[in-house]
Symmetry: C2
Subunit: 112 residues, 2 copies
DNA sequence: CCGAAAGTACGATCACTGTCAAACTTCTAT
DNA sequence: ATAGAAGTTTGACAGTGATCGTACTTTCGG
């Protein structure tokens, strides 16, 4: 598993333990359509995706903000590959704490 | 059966069909702690409660607003008994459309 | 008929949050 | 070394929504 081994400081952002995230924070994260879209795309892809891979109707800086919120809410894990930041849905961990919630989110018929 | 039968107009507010309420609207309703508290209390009581019965940390007019939002989101049904407005959790109808969601909400450890 | 009780309606604040543009940081490729 | 790609950071700005107080409506009790 190994954290970054080369000279620079980690560029690994902090990730909370999902059990320490409150329902309030989770709902605040999921109430935004852009963020739900990110979650839905990660689920549909069934694989980790870089930020740029996910098409969003907002600028780069706003996208960064949304990924940040999702990470803080324990919904995604982020790690670098080169200059790209990859995003992984923390499906199992999340389901263990909030069972059924993600199912509702990703199960909803898509509407833009 | 039987709508109000006396002279005045109904004081029965409009209730949406839950199937026509979107996930966005539902999440916007549930993201507010005061509204989640209302839902939780109705669930815990296992019975319909008047607005005044539910203790909330906000003024009357604000409370009215929150009940309105919950009603529009298909989460509660409201009807009058005298001057009191009763509130009923639309548990079954809601679960049929968003299974698991209310479980997460009412299952969360209480925190004020 | 009068007053109290229970909510509702209406404006006015106020704080928060999503948004963008511009400047900056890291890493990769040439 | 230079340039470019991919994100991040940092303000600034605007829209939304929760909140309150006051006035209003409806219903019930005496």
């Amino acid at each position: 598993m190994a954290t970054a081994r080369h000279g620079g400081r980690d560029r690994v952002p902090p990730h909370p333990d999902v059990r320490e995230v409150g329902l309030q924070q989770v709902l605040e994260a999921l109430v935004d359509p852009v963020r739900r879209r990110i979650v839905t795309e990660l689920h549909a892809a069934g694989a980790d995706l870089s930020c740029g891979t996910i098409e969003l109707p907002v600028g780069k800086s706003t996208a960064t903000h949304h990924f940040h919120v999702l990470r803080e809410a324990g919904l995604i894990r982020q790690y670098y590959v080169g200059t790209s930041r990859m995003n992984a849905l923390r499906r199992e961990e999340f389901d263990a704490v909030f069972p059924g919630l993600l199912d509702v989110v990703v199960g909803e018929p898509h509407r833009d």
